[in-house]
Subunit: 418 residues, 2 copies
């Protein structure tokens, strides 16, 4: 049962000359995946003194550790055996009931069997993509798009119809014309209607209705990815896109990542039962079901009545950080930079003049102690080099001011040299 | 923001005549998925008085709730912010280090960057399948095969090379001849070397070496799925298949489901870093990373030194249940039934004479208060109708005796009538 571990180490050091070449057997989807810039970002974010405006992470100092502890111990006391045993793929029924009840306030009316618990809302999207997409199938995405969405679609070898956005979100009229001229009808339209990642923009009420009309007229279903809905700092919430859907042509995705804690990886899909059943069959061959213990703990936390006050607290703090960032951008960024003014969410989106490539000064920014993700990764039409996404939830106001100042200086120098 | 929920209900009741037909847009993989018999099984298992020999569930009364509670509160006290924040896709480093150390006893020598934490070991398999398989690609599976493996492969639209097994596991010589005659070279060979689900059979030492030789000679990598290794009740453990691999042509999958608790959904893959990186990229577009809180709690539990005693306790109890089941089968089952005599794991496998179809008496068994899964679902070559899998870990010895007795009576009647 022993093996010469010395030999094994030697092989590694020699560059494993005699090692098997797995890459010859890779599936065609693998060609879509580039080396990960995010991995390097993570490394840089650990450097001392670095101010990261990069990740889309909530503020960990606001995590509700104490309510979680109480709920965790309650579940251990009262329901440990079921919590730790294999569970049903669809998810813990009381939590699905709670989700169905909450959705009513967004104008969404579903039964408990129209809710599927997933391992983060991104998994719900991945499952839906696998239910619908053969390689080469077209999908409508906003331009720019959440990177996780693009990664899931890449792994299904989707082709993209990139839909332009303005300050009211996806421009539905223009998309309709694009689709009229398109060679193939897309299988799916993907939107993040509230405080979109990465742009920070929301889809207007009128456009929400239009989008459902377009979906119905052209027979293209909608996936509405809505992790940021509760992070609203200004104005009244809008009804969900799905609230205008009377034909079951849309699926709504939600998450506990932003209202509780992302490390737990619990989200959900709400939509027509036949589609959710297919998603569940794929989930059975993937992770079988989502952690039953954590589902029960979350259920206990959200039913304790603690959530409304907690969301209020998050909103107040993030609003302060957003205001700080917008003020710092106005003060320090060159006038050529155009920034969105989101009314919620986690991100401000910056566009520099055409021709500027943000990748060209990312390393200088790192050298100056500030980290940002160039926007190019959020596009699949080869554009976006002149854009960047700035996160304001994961740094204190002081750090935000300092980070924006450092970044502004790097940009000024770059523009001056270019 | 409100919608007429009465109307919505009415639509549902009317059979949603005007609802969108998603099925027109399903991907071709969906045609592989049949209606789920497992779902009905779950329903039947809840009936009062039912003795289920069906699921592969551990005994919940042995779950280490107290050590988990201590570890859970320790993590909340000392590391809550990191535990609840977004984490890296590869997984929590100390837990990966612990896994790498443990693997040495199986003859596997890997570094921490050759371990990927996954949401159950089935997710590791699903990710690997997605790295390697285009639709139609061939995969070698044991005959019979774990259903989760088949579901993951179905969702990649794999084609199957079903390899025959005997009491020493997969018959490698015969597989070699099959492959020599095959039209296409498979992309992957899948084995569960220890106490295989569903057959209970283990791959012999000699066959493990042979399998690695075959993999090397034919250039086909191996995935070694090993969730049951620690559940050994008789004899000495064998070195892992991967321990004979000097060319990095194999990936080893492990799980905490059977040695701790399955509801937590934490497993891992150990193997060549380039392949794990590709698996990680697909995981980034699926569930991003596995629950960071639970990873830390597990790390604390396994490092407390509690595990060896706990595994000893599980072994003693399951061995008693296995012995009970084997004795009951010998006493009650008709002589035409051939049963495996596993030395570990969770299952006994039963073969009835050719021509008998276990699906034909499953409902009678339910009526008599005993539940079993017909074996057909574990095959993809259209055979296996005369087989069934019996679980012995999830019932007390008394229930096992009574369940086997009930089932024996149903089978006797069926054989008498047939």
């Amino acid at each position: 049962m022993t093996q010469d571990s010395g030999l094994r180490t030697q092989n590694s050091e020699l560059g494993t000359q005699n090692s098997f070449d797995w890459s010859r057997g890779y599936a065609s989807r693998i060609a879509r995946f580039q080396g990960s810039a995010i991995r390097e970002m993570f490394h840089w974010a650990q450097l001392p003194g670095m101010i990261s405006l990069s990740a889309g992470s909530p503020a960990p100092e606001l995590f509700p550790v104490e309510p979680f502890r109480e709920a965790a111990n309650y579940v251990l006391e009262h329901d440990a055996m079921a919590a730790f045993q294999y569970g049903i793929t669809e998810g813990y029924v009381p939590l699905r009931e709670w989700i169905a009840e909450q959705l009513i306030s967004k104008g969404i009316h579903v039964g408990v069997d129209e809710v599927l618990i997933t391992t983060g809302s991104l998994q719900a999207f991945d499952l839906l993509a696998r239910v619908l997409l053969n390689p080469g199938d077209a999908v409508v995405v906003e331009r720019p798009t959440f990177i996780g969405t693009l990664q899931a679609l890449d792994s299904c070898e989707a082709s993209y119809v990139s839909a332009r956005m303005d300050e009211d979100g996806l421009i539905v009229d223009e998309l309709d014309q694009q689709l009229a001229a398109a060679a193939q009808t897309p299988k799916l339209m993907c939107v993040q209607p509230n405080f979109q990642n990465p742009s920070g923009v929301s889809l207007s009420l009128e456009r929400r209705k239009q989008l459902v009309q377009l979906a119905s007229a052209r027979g293209i279903p909608i996936v509405e990815d809505d992790p940021y809905a509760e992070l609203i700092y200004e104005g009244a919430p809008l009804p969900a896109v799905k609230s205008f859907d009377t034909e079951d042509l849309s699926i709504y995705l939600g998450s506990f990542s932003k209202i509780l804690m992302p490390g737990l990886r619990v989200g959900w899909a709400a939509g027509p039962r036949p589609v959710l059943e297919k998603m569940g069959l794929i989930k059975q061959g993937s992770d079988l079901h989502t952690d039953g213990y954590i589902q029960r703990v979350i259920n206990h936390v959200v039913r304790s009545g603690f959530l409304p006050g907690h969301i209020k607290e998050i909103r107040a703090e993030y609003r302060k950080r957003l205001d700080t960032m917008l003020a710092a951008l106005a003060e320090h960024f060159p006038p050529e930079a155009r920034c969105t003014r989101p009314r919620g969410g986690l991100f401000v989106w910056v566009e520099l003049p055409e021709g500027v490539n943000c990748n060209d000064f990312m390393r200088q920014a790192v050298d100056q102690g500030v980290l940002f993700p160039p926007g190019q990764g959020f596009f699949r039409d080869g554009t976006g080099q002149n854009t960047m996404r700035l996160n304001f939830s994961n740094q204190t106001p002081d750090k935000i001011r300092e980070g924006v100042k450092r970044l502004a200086e790097v940009i000024r120098q770059h523009l001056a040299n270019g």
